[in-house]
């Protein structure tokens, strides 16, 4: 895990967010203190090149839970808790599918999601319909 990190900076060198001027988890690993663990695409390039085999993905997920989430992530998570998908997907999706000649799909029920994820949050209101 993070104890293996030698702060060599290789992960930061390859990271696209860093090369475009952003500071993400690789800044933390390279010894910097200005970063956001949310600013990452999970492209796994850092993970692939790290000579010490640090599980950067795991470090990042742990860090994210300490930082306030960006709104789109928070909303996406809420959608999953409400309806099982990261977007507000409802039965209307089957009309779109039909227009493309795709078979209707049986969507996951809110009850099922609740049985799986009830430990994540307070009861959420029903999934909103319509596109975002």
């Amino acid at each position: 895990m993070i104890e293996q990190c030698t702060h060599c900076g290789l992960c930061r060198e390859v990271c696209l967010a860093e090369r475009l001027g952003g500071h993400t988890i690789t800044s933390l690993l390279s010894g910097g203190d200005e970063y956001s663990a949310w600013l990452c695409s999970c492209c796994q390039l850092c993970q692939e090149v790290c000579p010490e085999g640090v599980d950067i993905h795991a470090v990042m997920m742990a860090e994210r839970r300490l930082e306030p989430p960006p709104e789109p992530y928070r909303r996406g998570f809420e959608h999953v808790l409400r309806c099982g998908y990261a977007f507000p997907i409802s039965e209307e999706i089957n009309a779109l599918r039909a227009a493309y000649g795709l078979e209707p799909l049986e969507l996951v029920s809110a009850e099922r999601i609740w049985l799986l994820l009830d430990s994540c949050a307070d009861p959420a209101p029903p999934c909103p319909t319509g596109q975002e």
Partner: protein, 263 residues
């Protein structure tokens, strides 16, 4: 041969043409795809960033496919990676026991029997059949963009080269197109930055599109790449609308060469 088809939230909601092109192409190769009733979000970072229960959700999807007796076929990088990582985590008997305790409430059980393969892997395994089905060679210049998480980390994917993969080159080359090397085909598209820093995402997208100048079409194989590079292209170019580059999903391009009807 048959797979359980896992489109993931993004393709399910916004990209039915990707699902359709995938199903048509594979049908032409004699590969069936069966929808997974009641499949849910894979648990990808959108859940994992908040809770360890991402694993329960991923395992739930794996359990559904397992009950169908089928391996899973994915079309996005993120779902591919998340489901594979869950499958690896479930090798631990303790983890499996805990997750199965949860799944029992739904009458489900996961052992990790269903493998997770991205469309690219399946197409590579059927390259010969694909070659034989090409009826209309394409005279196009094509730029490529690889879905990162299908190939990385290499120890999880076990497929192709994690830093310089070749699968898309090999598949697209079958159609007779000219491949335009962009120098950034192996780089992340940056689509997911959209959720935390929109300007950074647009800068990343612009990098790809500018490097792809000279191509008639850019080809991707992931809903996230497509979201930024195709759907958000107007925002990337701003008022340079004349720059617009057509973007196709890989199975759409291959479908054209097989003479399959576009949408």
């Amino acid at each position: 041969m048959k797979f359980a088809f896992y489109p993931g939230c993004l393709v399910l909601q916004r990209m039915p043409q990707y699902e359709l092109a995938t199903k048509r192409l594979l049908a032409a190769l004699g590969i069936g795809l069966q929808d997974i009733p009641q499949a849910a979000c894979c648990g990808a970072p959108i859940v994992e960033s908040f809770s360890d229960e991402w694993l329960t959700l991923a395992a739930y999807n794996l359990a559904l496919a397992e009950a169908m007796g089928l391996d899973i076929l994915t079309v996005c990088g993120s779902c591919t990676h998340t489901l594979r990582r869950a499958r690896r985590a479930l090798r631990e008997p303790d983890v499996r026991r805990r997750v199965n305790g949860r799944l029992a409430a739904l009458g489900l059980r996961v052992e990790g029997r269903s493998e997770v393969q991205h469309l690219l892997q399946v197409l590579m395994a059927h390259r010969q059949a694909l070659r034989e089905r090409i009826v209309s060679p394409l005279r196009l210049k094509v730029a490529l963009t690889y879905p990162c998480q299908v190939f990385r980390p290499g120890e999880l994917s076990g497929f192709d080269d994690p830093l310089r993969p070749q699968a898309m080159h090999d598949l697209v080359a079958l159609t007779g197109v000219e491949i335009v090397e962009t120098g950034v085909e192996y780089e992340c598209c940056g689509s997911t930055y959209m959720m935390s820093d929109e300007a950074l995402a647009l800068a990343a997208g612009r990098r790809k599109l500018e490097a792809s100048r000279g191509a008639d079409v850019l080809v991707d194989a992931c809903g996230n790449c497509h979201l930024l590079l195709e759907r958000m292209q107007h925002a990337i170019w701003g008022d340079q609308a004349a720059e617009r580059l057509p973007v196709l999903f890989l199975p759409q391009l291959l479908g054209l060469a097989l003479g399959l009807a576009p949408e």
